[in-house]
Each structure stands twice: as C-alpha cells, then as structure tokens.
Symmetry: C2
Subunit: 757 residues, 2 copies
C-alpha cells in the first residue's frame, strides 16, 4: 500500500545553499556569544511594523501583494536539535522540511481567491514529511489502529447526531469520504440551538411567546423519559417515534472503545502521533511565530483585551471572589441587621440574631475567618474543598448567601450574581456560564429554581446558564429521600419534559429553560463506586441499594434523557441543551471514554494525559475541553505540571475557565487572572491566548447570533475560512496550521483504510 | 569548646508515648488510603473557629488562657521522611525535636508579660537541636568561617552607619555582645529619615518652610563631593569634617569579602546553614501552619487584602499597564489631535501630524501593535527588552508619552502617573515607589525634572519617589556628552548638594528632594565591563576612556556621594536617601558583594543562588530584597525556577514588586497580579503573603509616621515585639520563629568566637 499524503505532495525544491549555511551557523553557535546575538535572533520583530500597519489601514480592501520571494530551506541541523528526545524513527520522518510554494499554500486553503482580504492566509513555512511511512509502526499495526480509530470516530458522530450535539465538521467530512459518500455541509452544521439574546426592548422574562400545549404524556421507562401521544398510549407503552440511544448498542460501543484504548498497537500509534503533533507545533512556532505576530500587529483595533472570552466552567455558588463575598456580607449586615433572614426550628431569626448565634460580628470578619479560599490544605482533599463552600465553616451562612432556596427566597444570592454580571458587562468582552444545581431529590426543585430566577430577574446578556447535577444518589438514598435511582432521574428530567410539552403549565420554568444551555454532571471523580456499567447492570428503577452507581452509569442516563429531550425540543422549535460534564479531573480514564461518546464538551480532562488513544481521539474530533489550571493547582495537580500547554500545542481544543473564583482567585477579574497566570507560566504568545479565547466562545452556549457577532459570519466553518481575524485576533497562519494538521492526521487514517480496500 | 545554645537549653522532656505512636502511624500510612484520611489530616482547620473568633472579640483586652496542655513529641520517623535529601551529618543534628514548654517559650520572647495581648506569642512547636555540634564541619573550619562572617557583618554595619542607612538591630546587638559592649537601642535605630506625608490642609509643594542658606561650597574631588566652609577653603582644599568612606579601606574591605566568598570552609559552612534553615522552615510549617492560620482567623478586620503592601521596585516610565497606555494614547488623540505636541528639526507638529508621519492612526492601535509587552522574544535579551519602551517601536511616542522632558513639558507622562496614583489611592492599601531617571549627561537635568514634578503637581500620598541612574557612561562618552566619568558623577550629585546647602536657590528642586527617598543604579548587569575595581583604578576625573567602568566602580562612587550627602542632610534636619540599586539580576556575584557593603536594600538578588556565603550574609543582616519574579520570567529566569520561595523559607527578607507593569502584567492591578501568581505557583499561605507585604513596607521609603500607622508603633523592633498583628496580619508565631531562628544563627557565631577567646 502506498500512502499518499496528497495535501503535501510538493515537487522537490532546490536547496538554497546560502540559507542552509546560515541555518547551520545559527544552530551551531552558542547563544551566549554576545557578538552573534544580534545577527542570529530568530525572534526579531520586523522594524517596519508602523508602516505596515498604515499600509494595512490604507489598503484594507485591496489585496495584498506577495512581495517576498519564497524561500526554500532544508534544515537538517535544525531538526537534530529539536527532536533529540524522540525515537530515531520519528526523527527520520522529519528530516525534510519544506517551505511550500505560494501555489501549494493556496491549494491547501483552496477557493480563497474570491474571499475578502481578512480570510487570506499569509505565506508561511510549513513542515512536510517525505516518504511513505508515517508513524514508525508496522503496517499491520498501522491498519489495525486506523480501523479502530475510524470506528471510534463513527461512534462519536452517531451519538452526537442522536443528541443534537456538535461533531467536528472536518472529521465528519473525512468519515463521509471514507464511506464514499458526498458530505453535505448541512449535515455537519446540524447542531444545538440556543436562545438568541433579547432584542432592544424585548423582555427576557416575557411568557407570551411560549408555544402551545401539545397534550403529550411523558413517563420514565428504564431510566429514560418516553413521550406518548396520550395517557392510554402511555399505559399501553406505545411511545412516539423519537430517535433515542439503544442501551445494548451503547454498551457494545463502549466495550469496543474500552478494548481500543487498551490495545497495544493503537496505544503506540496514537502515542507517536501525539508526540509528532507536539514537535510539529514547536517547529511551526519556531518558523512562524513572528509571522503570526505580524498578522496580529497589522490587525487594527483588536487585541487580546477586546476579543471575546467566555468563562466556560464556573459554579454559580462560587462565582464571586472571596473579597466580594466578604464585602457583600458586611454590606448586607449594615442594611438588613434587623430583617428576618433565617428560620431554624420554627424560630425566626433576624440577621443580628443569626450572627449572634454564630458568635460572630460581620465587622470583624476577614477573608481569613471567612475561610472559603482553597489552600495547601485542600490539595488531594476534595472533601475539604467542598467544606470550603461554607463561609466561616457555618452552613447557615452558605444557606443565606449562596443558595437559591432559603427564608429570603435566595435574594442575596441573586444580588451577588447580578453584581458579578454587572462587572462582566462593564468589562464588556467577558462572558460566563454559571452552573446552578438540580439535585433530583424532589420534583419541585425545578419550580423553585425557576421561580427564583424569574422573581429576582437574574438575567444578564453576559451570562448563560447551565444545570449541574451532583452524583450523590448514595446520600439521598441513605436518608431515604428517594426510593431508587430512577426516581432521582425522574425528578431531574420529567419537569423539563413536561415544560417542553406544555410550556404554559409552568411558564416560569419554561422561561428559565430558554436561558439554560446545558447540563453538567459534578462530584469528586476520585471516589470509586466499585460498580461496572454493563448489560447486567440493574435498571435505574431497580437500583434501590444504598451504593452509588458508577460515573459511566450516571453519564449514560443523563445523556439518554438529554438526547430524547433535545429531539423533542428541536421538534417544538425550542432551544436544545448540551451535555458538558466534569470529566477527567481525577478517577479512571473510562470517565473520559464515556464522555467521548456522550458529551458535547467537557470540563478538566486532566486524565487524558493517561491515555494516548483517548487524547488522540479528543484531538481528531476536536472535542473542546474547559480547563482550570488554578483549580487543579489547589486540588489535583501542581500548576507547572498541568497539561494545558501540551494539549494546546498538540491541537486539542482547550479553553480557560475559573471553576470557583471564590476558592481560587485573588483579583477582581478572575478570568483575566486565569489567562494572565497561564500566559506567564506557560509563556503563551498573544496568538495562543486569542486562540484559547476563540475556543472558549465556540465551546460555549452563546447563541448563533452572538457567535456570529464575536467570531464572524463563517464561525461554523473550520480552518481559516471560519476565522475573522478582525474579530478574533487569531492569526490566519495559526488557523491554517491547525486545519492542515488536523486534515493530515485524518487523511492518514483515510488513506490507510482506502489502501486496504 | 562547648557550644551553648542558651536560647534552647531546655530540660529534657518526657516522651508522650501516645503522641509518638500516633505520629508514627501518620507517617507510615499511605495518604491514598481513604479510610485513614480524615483521621490523619495534618492540616485540619479547627472547627471551632467562629466561636474562637467571637471569644476574641469579646475578650480582646483580657489575656488568653493557655488551655491546652503542652504536648511533648519526639518524632524520629518524621524527620526521616523530610530530610532524605540532606547529608547524614545534617540529618543527625535534627533527630531530636522538642516542643518547648510554655515557660521556655515565654523566656524566649521575654518581657512580654506586661505587653498588650496582640504582642503575645501563642504556644507553638519549636525545633531544637541537641548536642554540641552544629554544622557538620570541622572545628577549625567552623572557627575560620565564624571569624570571617563576623568581620563581614562588622563591615556592613560600618558602611551602613556611615551612610545613615539601616542595619539589622538584632545583628547589631550580637556584634556588640561579641565585642563585650553594651548595645544601645538608639544606635540601631539611628537610620534614614523620610518626609512625613503632608498634614490636613498642608501643601506638599509649599516652599515656605525650606531651611536657610548655609553658604557652604560643594566641589567634587576624586569623584566624591566635598563640602567647604567657603570658596577660599575650597580652593585650599580644606573640607569640613564630614564622615566619609575611605577609598583604600573600602578596597581592603572589599578584597577581604571577595576572599571570604571564595573560601572553601566558609562556603561549606554557609551552604549547610542555609540548607538547615530551609529544612527548619519546612518543619516549622508542618508543625505550626494551622496555629499560624488560627491566629490570622482570630485577628479581626484585617486580612491580606487590607494589609498594606508597597511596590518596592517599579520604573515610572513603565508603571502603567499596556492597556492603560493604549487607552491614554487613544484618549489624548481624541482630545488633542490638533495640539502641537512635537518638534522635529525646528518643525512643530500637531499630534495628527506626528501620527501621520508614523503612518499610524490611534484608532487602529492595539496592544499588539503598541508592542510594549515583553514576551518570549525578550528572554535573555535585555537589549530587546529596552527597545520595548518605545511604543510601536517609535521613539517619538516614548518621547511624547513616557518622558518628563518634551515639547509639552511631560504633561502626558505626569497625567498617566497621576492616573496610576489615583488607582492606588482607590485601592487604598497599595503604595508604589516609582523611579525617575537622572542620567548625569547635563547639570540641568535635576532642574528640569523637579520643574516637571512641581508644575504638574505629581504628588500622591501613595507614591514615594526614587531616582535611578543608568550605568551608560560609555554611551555619553562616545557621543562626547561628558569629558570623563567624574563629570557624570558631578552632574548627578552636585545639584543635590547645592540644593541641600541653599534650598532657596532652587526651591523646586528642594521640594522635589523632600519627596525623593532613594537612589537606584540601573542597567543590564549581564554586560561585562572587563574592568576590575582596585586601588589602581583611575579616579573618576581621570576616567576619560570610552569604556564603561565596572558595576562595582559605579556602586562605590554612588554610595560615597550618598554617604556624604546624607551626613549633610541629616545635619540640616532634612530627609536622607537610601541606596537601593538593581543588583544580582544577572552578571557576576561581585555585584551582590558590592551592594552588601553599600546598599540599604536591593532589587532582584537572583544571583544569591550562586553564592552561599553572600546568601547567608544577606540573611544574617536581614538585607531586604525586592524581587520581581514576573519580570525575571520574561528576562532571565523561568517562573518556577525563581528563588523567591527558597529565600523566603530560609528567612531572607523578600518583598514582591512589579518592575515594569507595562511590559509584564496583564490586569488592572499589577501588584495584586504579582502576589496572586506567586501565591498560586509557590503555594504561599496567607501568613507568607502578609509577611512579604510587611517586608515591603519595612523596606520602602515610607516615612516613620506611615510605617507606625501601617505596622504598629513598635515597627523598629525586631521579632514579635515589632509586629502588630492587628495591622499586619502576620502571625506572632511566625515572627517568633523568624526572630529565634536569626538569633540562633547569630548566636552560633558569637559562641564560637567567645570559645576562642
């Protein structure tokens, strides 16, 4: 079989001897030698940038002239320096690196000629591999791996479509090509629907436009809600035809993936590909860093500060920083000391009484005594971390300030959140997706939560809401709050289904759901359940033991319900939900596998470090990961060991998020603090930071209208075509590099499978 | 000789078998074992803190009862875990660790019984060494080292007194004890004088209270300004008797120190002591972290956010962040587009013309095109870093926005600084000490600078001013701006002497000098001059070659002039100046040696890593170091390799500073960003952060009035007596640990020298 990497099939170029000699000099010389410094600097910034800048402004709507002759460079000594840590086979595959001609470049990003200037990709140096052999593994192993990876991609595509979640257009296109089908753009773009922001004068709490009652009946069967035409149909169990995941198939698919991630040859192959991706990015940066920077410098009016960023993972109950909470408590005491705010055992207490009963006076309170900040004590101690949610260790204060349901109807919590929102609105370019809890203890939870939301009018254009479901069935069962796991699922999902079928029956909930964009599954992943998810697992209605089901069990049933729910809502023209669980923060790698099958995107993903196969699959499918290195630093992994930089370099889609500003951050701008620290510790370039910010917008539940506004009209397209540098400040060179690199990896699989036919 | 560590001469205590068994269980157990977690947590926060808190508030003026029985613990298995990296000799010396009895503790912090509650040190666990032998070196080596260190301390004490700078009271007390003198408190407290902040209604620019003209004459002789009664005395070279450093003695002292830091036995001894200090701190933290935290939690109203912190090292020309500068440029263009702001070759230009000539429009400007932020390109490239001071690479813009001397009289620069000051005033607890340049090119520089200061009324209670002198004689000489190095020194110092003798001759300068607190010496330390400072070095007036003198040569002549100047100003009742050079950022360790002799405190100090002798001397003399890890991260040393944490643990006096927010920081609060990143990466506790903040206030040029207000009335005292936890939020346990540790190290030297007599 001959592996053709069409994309890079360049005519052999003539070596520029002068360039080679220069390159050799560069890498042979000792950087400490002062005399040569000026001359050899790889990182020189073009001196002419003000002029370029002006030219750009003047000729914004003319096309650029390619003034610079294309340089050809074979740079053997260069590679030898950068890849000393790699296997000889891998090194050999790098030996030749070419600068592709302009013609090639244009072919790679084809059809751009009639595009506006901002979509053009400037000339840059590309890394190409000569020779047929790609990965230093035997042919048999290569074929085995490619088949496995291909099937894995198909599995994810299937489950994403089923739940109306997103799947990488590029990956989808390659799957079609393998299957010999013609790929339809529409197919790939079929995806989640989010509520657009209210128009001028429109009230986000308006209930007039809610759709009519369909009169259908929703009932839970085997842990998944089914929809029936009417009650008799429900009694006869004759559900309407809505696509839903099949339990046995899901288990089959999962077992296949479990085998795949443990398969030796696939582990070797993916490990090598990931190493290659990492090295390739390093070379790309060496060669093009200054060109990328030049694009950004020439990009008027947009920089890291005014490109949009979304805090893709933040818990509402910890979305303010510790100082903010402290100030709020003190302020509330000054104003409301005599107000009845708490009820304990039928005894009403004023705020004064409450603090007196805690032997506290708010004036004396400090962030130290408040004690909500994670420190060295919380490292590897998720239990202690959870206790930090109680200000001054007092659950009464958590209740009063950080809960939606309490004696004052969650008023303080709503006010704190609105203050956070107002800071975001002032900052203008920052958005957040706070997560509120639904526990599944009680079917009224949704009513209470949506009532809090509507009564307090907790709306901000800079906030998008998510629902988090803690995996604590065991606690509820032990206290006899629920008879079995099925009841918990019913409490979580049935009210949403009912509000979807008849929005007018519970208008507050229906309005709240319009502003909800997804579901999360949360808890300490390092807790081990001891249960294995299989065909023999009891059905949720039969799960009445005190033991908690496994992570995968939770994930499957949440996914299955969301899938049906999204089908129903889409049919009704309503917004749909994403499944965005916490995953891979700790615990087994199977968590990451379950989410590869079910989640639109995940939070954390640290444990991808442990499985090259899953990591490579997350890369191939461009599955977004909201990472929170400051949170990890206090809980699971020291900052400089965080894989964020490594993932970013390899091309995994990562965003930065704060998780819990109350516990982890010091400054008034937690998201900026998160970016600043990552920039400093990982030495991120501006282009890196803007790419991460762009990822965060794509990953988020912002509506299509907002994404178009923030990223450009083509944001659904992948590669440079989907990037409007004027809005994102991400260099087109970077976009082209990412796109070509992804295509190259997918192509390897395609060519292998084709060769086999 | 018997080494008596009086301080720790405790009666042998009885082992509590139960405690030992428990401790062994703790260290034998695997932390991963979930069942044992709860039980063994070393870091448990007391559950009773709200109650304690209230008790504290209620009984603030009563004395605490020592309710807890003193525990005794010999913890052999414990040490074995933590010191596996240390030499066996060192480990052996740790084997016994005692919790001193309450009686001992009170003896250690003697005379506290009649002190207010906040000065009390709570019971804590101390590390004591049993046996005579301290450092694992031979007796001869030990004596040799102690003699050398003793002389080094005497040298620093001498030069600090001479220049009216500060010397550690504790070290001074020990030197007196060695010499058999009675140490006088007054002696140690003799130190710099800073201008108090203006009282209510007082004008900081008021020139009415300036002292009268003394009519003396100041002339430069051999690079140092001398004061004469009158002109005839000057002609006859009969100077007034002002104490001044003696050149030959200085060289002698320096040569002694050079020999000392290269001396094998002293290197071994100090290296071992430093390792011991580091390990001792780790043990202290293990044992007392929660006790320290408890103190802070019980400390009402004060936390890290509202304890004072000073940005001890910040350049005025880069004191705003990049976004601030960008916004200012845009705003100025909107308002002043037609104003004449620049003059090039006799042609006056409006702001519009100026930007047009640069082919720029401010609207298009971004932080990327502004290009003042340091990135990966500046690492190990101080030259590139300096170029970053030019916005958009255009020196015209640097001139217009970041200079005190330009066509608009430095108006924009003054406005930017006042905006920064106003942010600090709003933040209330943050102060900064911006540094302005005097080049020594021209005798008018001072007049122009002080005129800028007065005309623009650049005063803020949150700013203290410093003068930085770049070491760029070679550039001035090459352009023939100065005939020799002596002239440069004269330009720098003569105007200050003249204003000191006759304040009314130049009231603007005299007023400016009231607000100046020190001098800095700046430039790239990694540039090597090739010149060795010795008795044979040409005198400054003879130094007319194009080559730059060495770092030490610069430092000596700046120091000598400041010493005389301070004597003169002190006599006249004026404020004095500190010498606070950049030192040890790069280059030779001799820089750190020169500053050990001459500087009140230094900036950077990274290279102390390279010399254990100097590092130990900096510890013994508690010489403050303003560190800027974010700056280092962009220029010389990656963040997680920064020695800040190591220095802090050993007990060197470190503070955190920003250096150049324009180049290094991202957020609106650069100093908080600096603290936040250090806290995250180094996992600093609140007590660590508050200790560093306290260090920054002590190190700064804030007046005695302000220091009393921010740190408490006893701030000049060392140890727990000097700490008012209600203002500093530093635990008294920490203060006692630091103080006892310093005394122990000084005592080792004292006892050795006594034994020898």
């Amino acid at each position: 079989m001959l592996l053709r990497a069409d994309h890079y099939n360049v005519p052999k170029t003539k070596t520029d001897e002068h360039m080679r000699a220069f390159a050799e000099k560069v890498f042979a010389s000792d950087a400490k030698d002062e005399d040569i410094r000026e001359e050899i600097s790889l990182f020189d910034v073009a001196e002419d940038c003000p002029i370029l800048n002006q030219e750009h402004a003047m000729h914004e709507h003319h096309s650029l002239n390619y003034l610079f002759p294309t340089a050809y460079l074979i740079c053997i000594s260069f590679t030898a320096i950068f890849f000393t840590n790699h296997s000889p086979a891998l090194i050999l595959s790098y030996i030749f690196m070419h600068v592709l001609s302009k013609k090639m470049m244009l072919r790679a990003t084809k059809d751009l000629d009639d595009k506006p200037l901002y979509l053009e990709v400037p000339d840059f140096q590309r890394v190409a591999i000569k020779g047929d052999y790609a990965a230093g593994v035997t042919m048999d192993d290569f074929e085995l791996s490619c088949k496995g990876l291909y099937r894995a991609l198909c599995i994810r595509e299937k489950y994403m479509k089923l739940a109306i979640q997103r799947f990488s257009g590029t990956a989808s296109q390659f799957l079609s090509a393998v299957e010999g089908e013609k790929w339809k753009v529409k197919n790939a773009l079929l995806s989640s629907v989010f509520t657009a922001p209210p128009k001028q004068g429109e009230d986000p709490f308006d209930s007039k436009t809610l759709p009519e009652n369909k009169g259908w009946v929703a009932r839970m069967r085997d842990g998944v809600i089914c929809i029936y035409k009417d009650a008799p149909a429900a009694d006869k169990n004759e559900p309407m035809k809505l696509p839903a995941p099949d339990y046995a198939t899901f288990i089959d698919d999962m077992n296949f993936l479990i085998a795949l991630i443990a398969q030796g040859p696939t582990k070797t192959y993916t490990h090598r590909r990931l190493k290659f991706l990492s090295s390739k990015f390093n070379v790309h940066e060496m060669l093009n860093e200054m060109e990328e920077m030049k694009e950004l410098k020439n990009n008027p009016h947009r920089d890291f500060y005014n490109c949009r960023k979304v805090d893709t993972h933040i818990h509402a109950a910890a979305c303010m920083n510790q100082k903010h909470l402290l100030r709020f408590i003190k302020k509330s005491f000054r104003v409301d000391a005599d107000r009845v705010v708490y009820k304990a055992k039928d005894k009403e207490m004023s705020m004064k009484d409450l603090f007196a009963s805690l032997n506290l006076h708010p004036y004396d309170l400090t962030v130290d005594s408040l004690d909500v900040h994670a420190g060295r004590q919380t490292f590897q101690r998720f239990d202690k971390f959870n206790a930090k949610y109680n200000p001054v260790g007092a659950s009464e204060l958590r209740d009063l300030y950080l809960k939606t349901e309490n004696h004052i109807g969650g008023e303080y919590f709503a006010r704190i959140i609105k203050e956070v929102a107002s800071d975001l609105e002032d900052a203008k370019y920052q958005y957040a997706e706070p997560r509120l809890s639904i526990y599944g203890c009680n079917p009224n939870e949704w009513t209470k939560l949506s009532s809090w939301f509507n009564k307090n009018r907790v709306f901000s254009p800079n906030l998008k809401w998510m629902i988090q479901v803690p995996r604590i069935y065991d606690i509820f069962r032990a206290r006899n709050f629920v008879p079995h796991f099925g009841k918990m699922l019913e409490n979580i999902f049935l009210p949403v289904f009912e509000a979807t079928i008849n929005p007018h029956a519970n208008p507050e909930l229906s309005i709240f759901l319009k502003h909800v964009t997804g579901f999360d599954s949360v808890d300490d992943e390092s807790k081990h359940s001891g249960h294995m998810f299989s065909t023999k697992s009891p059905k949720p209605e039969e799960w009445d033991i005190a033991k908690n089901p496994s992570y995968t069990y939770y994930i499957y049933y949440m996914y299955a319900n969301i899938a049906v729910l999204n089908q129903l809502r889409k049919e009704r023209g309503m917004n749909t939900f994403l499944f965005r669980p916490h995953c891979g923060e700790a615990g087994a790698v199977t968590h990451l596998l379950a989410c590869f099958m079910t989640a639109d995107n995940i939070s954390h993903g640290l444990n991808l470090k442990k499985s090259p196969v899953l990591q490579y699959l997350y890369f191939l499918t461009q599955l977004p990961i909201a990472m929170s290195p400051l949170s990890n630093n206090s809980l699971f992994l020291e900052y400089n060991k965080n894989p964020l930089l490594e993932f970013h370099q390899k091309g995994l889609v990562v965003s930065l998020s704060t998780d819990d500003p109350m516990q982890f951050h010091y400054t008034k701008e937690p998201l900026m603090e998160e970016y600043a620290i990552a920039a400093q510790v990982f030495k991120l370039s501006t282009c890196d930071m803007c790419e991460i910010a762009r990822n965060s917008v794509l990953q988020s539940g912002l509506s299509a209208q907002e994404k178009t506004h923030f990223l450009g009209t083509g944001y659904l397209k992948e590669g440079p075509e989907g990037n409007d540098i004027r809005k994102t400040n991400v260099a087109q060179i970077r976009m082209a590099y990412r796109y070509e690199t992804l295509c190259y990896e997918l192509n390897l699989i395609k060519e292998c499978l084709k060769g086999e036919d």
